[in-house]
């Protein structure tokens, strides 16, 4: 048994075939190429091949080419925008074996699941779009200046690609769902009224989203916008903020705006002024492009947090973010959000205390509202270890792919070689996967068990068994 090669990024490129239609101008087609060090000939060859494959496959299907399987590589294709192709190439994991005294590489093609990496590629595009707008809009703003587009792509992807954790890709990347915070009606209404008051008091805030920990409570954005912003918050902004908080020593001291007692609160800007007492430093406020009311609307994203509750405020780029506004926001949000966060926290801890059943693991996803739940992963960011073997996790993706091929609702029950039972169910745009570790159980028992699970977990939704 030799060393095992993992799934890694071999290359990532964006090209537009219309940019260099004539011979000798092929290099013009390249808008972005990673790794940067690749010599231009290889780059040209690579995108030339990709273009050829796209053209060639077009003759067989009206659906564009999605992926290309080779022994050592997997290529994923995405026509992100008209004439703009994004190609991601990942390596196939292999093991080194010794056969007849010679070392042989054995490639494991099944380890790379198309749907997972297609989803990761799609996300890579959406993330770029979130912070830069569409390719078309960049060109439009700059009078078709491809250079600017190239710089933008370069600027964004060089860093972004390093954060891709390709080996951890799994079914959650396909769903790219949102974890909603369960709340009772009255607390939820309080959150609602708080947001309404916020938006009414600060007319420059156009949209708002409210999260508790990593769970969404309210979003005033379009669903697709929320999906990508959620991804950004959960996998990038919040973790890096927490890391920073852990390092700084004064993170627990409440902010004091005035001498008045009772004015103490625990609110802080995550994006925006890092210290409300320091008027010099306005901090970094990211700009995002969202499509809620109109396409490519440029907004500032101010994020404020008290305890575990975060408020994301979207302000149109036309408005000025100055220290005065931040100060006003801080004194408005601080006390209110602190109170609200502790109210929610009370409910949250009650729920958490009720305990979790460990006899089974499940993943739930609803395509209609993007709600997802998992007990397979130890946390939503997928940082920790998973609670089921990787092969079983891959099996979930396969079951999901199989079920997506049929328009009918249905159920698939599989027993793995490791004595895990895996049940996948689909009912009216909802998918539900259970992994039950019960040795010696038979199909009927498992079926009964799943029925019981559904009956106890899905009382409030129409979920057929």
């Amino acid at each position: 048994m030799g060393t095992k090669g993992g799934i890694s990024l071999a290359s990532f490129c964006v090209f537009n075939p219309t940019y260099g239609p004539r011979e000798g101008e092929e290099h013009k087609k390249i808008v972005f190429f990673y790794p940067k060090e690749t010599d231009i000939d290889t780059q040209i060859k690579h995108i030339g091949l990709c273009e050829a494959i796209v053209r060639f496959t077009e003759t067989f299907s009206n659906k564009p080419c999605q992926s290309l399987h080779t022994t050592k590589r997997r290529q994923l294709f995405l026509e992100a925008e008209k004439d703009f192709w994004m190609i991601m190439t990942v390596t196939i994991p292999f093991t080194e074996k010794t056969k007849d005294g010679q070392s042989v590489l054995e490639y494991h093609e099944e380890e790379v699941q198309d749907r997972v990496y297609e989803a990761i590629l799609q996300q890579a595009y959406r993330m770029f779009q979130l912070f830069n707008g569409t390719f078309a809009s960049i060109l439009e703003r700059t009078g078709n200046n491809v250079k600017v587009l190239q710089q933008r792509l370069e600027h964004f992807y060089v860093r972004f690609l390093q954060t891709l954790r390709l080996p951890q890709g799994d079914i959650l990347d396909i769903f790219s769902g949102i974890h909603f915070m369960p709340l009772d009606k009255n607390t939820y209404l309080h959150v609602q009224c708080f947001i309404n008051l916020l938006e009414a008091s600060f007319s420059s805030i156009k949209y708002t989203a409210f999260l508790y920990n990593d769970q969404l409570v309210w979003s005033g954005l379009d669903q697709e916008d929320m999906r990508i912003i959620y991804k950004y918050l959960i996998t990038s902004l919040f973790p890096s903020y927490q890391e920073q908080e852990l390092q700084s020593t004064n993170s627990v001291s409440p902010s004091r705006n005035s001498a008045a007692p009772g004015d103490v609160h625990y609110g802080k800007f995550i994006t925006g002024p890092p210290d409300i007492r320091n008027e010099k430093n306005l901090g970094k406020v990211p700009r995002v492009y969202i499509n809620t009311e109109c396409c490519n609307e440029e907004c500032f994203l101010l994020v404020y947090r008290a305890h575990n509750a975060s408020v994301c405020m979207f302000l149109p780029a036309a408005c000025k973010i100055n220290f005065e506004l931040c100060h006003k926001l801080d004194s408005f949000l601080g006390p209110r959000l602190s109170q609200l966060a502790s109210d929610i926290g009370e409910q949250f801890s009650k729920k958490a205390a009720s305990g979790a059943d460990t006899a089974y693991r499940f993943i739930y996803f609803n395509h209609m509202n993007l709600a997802q739940k998992t007990t397979v992963h130890s946390d939503m960011r997928k940082t920790g270890s998973n609670n089921i073997p990787p092969e079983t996790l891959k099996l979930l993706t396969d079951i999901s792919s199989d079920m997506s091929k049929s328009p009918e609702d249905g159920e698939i029950i599989v027993k793995t070689s490791t004595d895990n039972w895996v049940v996948g169910k689909k009912s009216d745009h909802r998918e539900f996967f259970v992994v039950i570790n019960q040795k010696n159980a038979n199909l009927i028992e498992i079926n009964e068990e799943v029925k019981r699970l559904c009956a106890s977990n899905f009382t409030s939704i129409f979920f057929l068994d």
Binding site: F180, L183, K185, N186, Y188, L189, H190, Q192, C193, N196, L197, E199, A200, S201, W218, S219, G220, L221, D222, Q223, M226, N366, M368, N369, A371, E408, D409, S427, D428, H429, R430, T459, S460, I461, F462, L464, D465
Partner: protein
């Protein structure tokens, strides 16, 4: 004089009681217990006219003239008239039911030689109390025998007294300064003496204290509590403004000073209590102010200090048609502007003003509309209005104006006002439940008089703005959510029309995802109409279908509807699985399913459904055939056409 409607909030009632004015031979008396004005001409020999609140209460009679009348009052049932003409005795005359009288008088003299009767009050139809300078004498009258029996006497030196009929409370002032107040409660044949209390007198110089005078003390019920109202002209040395002090009377403990109203004026004052408000008329400035002890005042831990609710304003001018004095225009009558705050005015509790020279008796009334614009703080305004009688329309107007684009209030203000309205609403609903359960209803809070329910809010406030383009939909949604939150916190079930309104606004503005989240968190209560509404939205927002089905499932009484939805989507197999999961396979109509299956033009699906029901038939009746009543002949034919008669299930001979 321009009569600007908006600049007065106190007015005199439109139809005053008119009586003959005071002159050399005419005396006028007012009995506040019975609200009657007595006009006594020539000691009663020429005639006595008694006028009550309404025209039909007028009584006319004569009595013998035996000297000047100093006090005259009917018993509460108006069957006995008591007249005092001398300091030692009171005379009585019986009246018949038709208010005719035999004019036969009988008399009662007070006990003790040196005793002087300073007044009397009726405490019940046949019981009367004489207040003398030595105390009180409590008598029971037997009118048939024209005799009085003394029930009780209490010895106490009395400076003056105040009587409040509605509480049967008599207040006696004693002590050298008249500032020792002794409250007594009267019930038939029983006197209850309460703990006496002392009104602290302001001292200009330590030695000379101004005694407490009768004219500065009155009693009234305010918000269901009995208070002694004391006017202090100069509360502290050096202070300019007078103040009004309220002492709350308790049955079990001594009266306690609770509230102080700062007048910031001095001079002659008169006090009325109207609609639980203390109205203070100031003669010198010819203005009146109102105080509301229900509104938050500054408190020093013992006493709350109040300022006028709104700035002082004059009473609305009053015009009276009087016989013309001159010969102008040959008119016999002309309009006459009454002098307000006249020196001839006498004020009685709770809300009466009498001008004896003019021959007029008014009730003081409150006009709410002008006050609306005078209280800028909507939260205070709503609290003020909620405690008033007949303020519903005004409150709804205020709510409407808080939403309208011209005078929009902030969300936090609206939130506070809605909370207040719903608190009253909840108390009302709770008391309704108590009544239904047969329990005695809990006493309603007198400071919360007006119930504004959801239908009021919907009809008069929210629906008005439904199509109003000048209001941002976000604001409307925010207000509705605020209202639903407030209802929900008060455990009031939200009515469907409110949900419908909010859904319509969200749908019209394409906020489907927000609507989705509301449903996800059950902000909008499940109901069949709401589920149907969601179904109708499916074409514009596909997830609405799932939301509707979930809702129907949660209602658990909507199996029929779920089947209909599934069949309409040609989801035959899910429908079959559904009826199996809720155990209603035996009850459903097979025809409905077969029809839907046939419409799919899917032969295999039709076969499956057909076989499902054949099996059901076997299970119910031991026979796969459909019964005549099920009207399935057509589908049996269709089945035979597709698969042949052999495919039909075999009849199993019953063993």
């Amino acid at each position: 004089m321009a009569d600007e409607e908006g600049s007065f909030y106190i007015e005199l009632c439109k139809n005053p009681i008119r009586f003959d004015p005071v002159d050399k031979v005419t005396n006028v008396f007012y009995d506040d217990a019975n609200k009657q004005v007595f006009t006594v001409r020539s000691g009663g020999a020429v005639g006595v006219v008694v006028k009550g609140p309404s025209e039909k209460d007028t009584i006319t009679f004569r009595m013998e003239s035996r000297g000047d009348v100093s006090s005259i009052k009917f018993s509460p049932d108006r069957r006995i008239l008591a007249v005092q003409r001398s300091p030692k005795s009171v005379e009585f005359v019986n009246f018949n039911e038709d208010m005719t009288t035999d004019q036969l008088e009988y008399s009662q003299t007070c006990k003790g030689k040196s005793t002087i009767v300073s007044g009397f009050v009726w405490t019940s139809p046949n019981e009367i109390v004489f207040i003398t300078d030595h105390g009180i004498e409590f008598y029971q009258i037997t009118p048939e025998r024209r005799t009085l029996k003394c029930l009780k006497t209490i010895n106490i030196s009395v400076c003056w007294f105040v009587w409040l009929m509605e509480s049967s409370c008599l207040l006696l002032a004693s002590g050298t300064q008249g500032n020792q107040l002794n409250p007594f409660f009267f019930r038939p044949s029983i006197i209850t003496k309460l703990t006496k209390f002392e009104v602290d007198l302001p001292s200009h110089q330590k030695s000379t204290k101004q005694p407490l005078l009768e004219r500065d003390v009155s009693m009234a019920n305010i918000y269901g509590q009995l208070y002694v109202i004391v006017l202090r002209h100069q509360p502290r040395p050096g202070s300019v403004g007078a103040e009004i002090v309220l002492y709350q009377i308790h049955r079990d403990v001594a009266a306690r000073k609770t509230d102080i109203m700062r007048l910031e004026l001095s001079g002659r004052f008169a006090i009325n209590v109207v609609n639980n408000l203390i109205v203070v008329h100031h003669q010198a400035s010819r203005t009146s102010v109102i105080f509301d002890i229900n509104l938050d005042g500054e408190s020093d831990g013992f006493v709350r200090y109040h300022h006028p609710v709104v700035s002082p304003l004059p009473i609305r001018p009053f015009r009276l048609m009087l016989p013309s004095l001159g010969i102008q225009g040959g008119q016999t009558k002309m309009e006459y502007n009454c002098e307000l705050y006249s020196a001839n005015w006498v004020v009685f509790q709770p809300n009466v003003i009498i001008d004896a020279k003019l021959g007029c008796s008014w009730y003081v009334e409150l006009k709410l509309e002008p006050i609306v614009t005078m209280i800028p703080d909507k939260h205070v305004l709503a609290k003020f209005l909620l405690a008033r009688d007949d303020s519903k329309r005004v409150i709804l107007n205020v709510c409407r104006s808080m939403l309208s684009s011209e005078s929009q209030a902030t969300l936090s203000t609206i939130s506070k006002v809605l909370d207040m309205l719903n608190k009253v609403y909840q108390d009302y609903l709770n008391s309704e439940i108590h009544v239904l359960a047969g329990d005695p209803p809990s006493k309603p809070d007198p400071a919360m008089k007006v119930v504004i329910d959801q239908s009021d809010m919907y009809t008069h406030v929210f629906s008005v703005f439904e199509d109003n383009k000048s209001i941002k939909y976000k604001f409307m949604v925010a207000v509705l959510i605020e209202y639903i939150r407030s209802l929900s916190e008060n455990n009031i079930t939200v009515q469907h029309y409110l949900y419908e309104l909010i859904i319509n606004i969200l749908v019209h503005n394409n906020c489907f995802y927000q609507l989705h989240q509301f449903l996800q968190y059950h902000v909008l209560q499940d109901s069949k109409p709401l589920a149907c509404l969601m179904l109708s939205l499916e074409s514009v927002y596909p997830p609405a279908h799932q939301l509707a089905l979930d809702m129907l499932k949660r209602l658990s009484t909507a199996n029929e509807e779920i089947i209909e939805v599934l069949l309409s989507k040609q989801q035959l197999l899910p429908a079959l699985r559904f009826i199996r999961s809720v155990n209603i396979v035996d009850a459903v109509s097979s025809r409905k399913f077969l029809e839907a299956a046939m419409n799919t033009d899917d032969a295999m699906l039709f076969y499956t459904v057909f076989k499902f029901f054949e099996q059901r038939n076997v299970k119910i009746r031991g026979n796969p055939r459909f019964q005549r009543g099920e009207h399935c002949e057509m589908y049996v034919k269709h089945f035979e056409g597709l698969f042949g008669t052999d495919a039909l299930a075999e009849m199993v001979a019953a063993s």
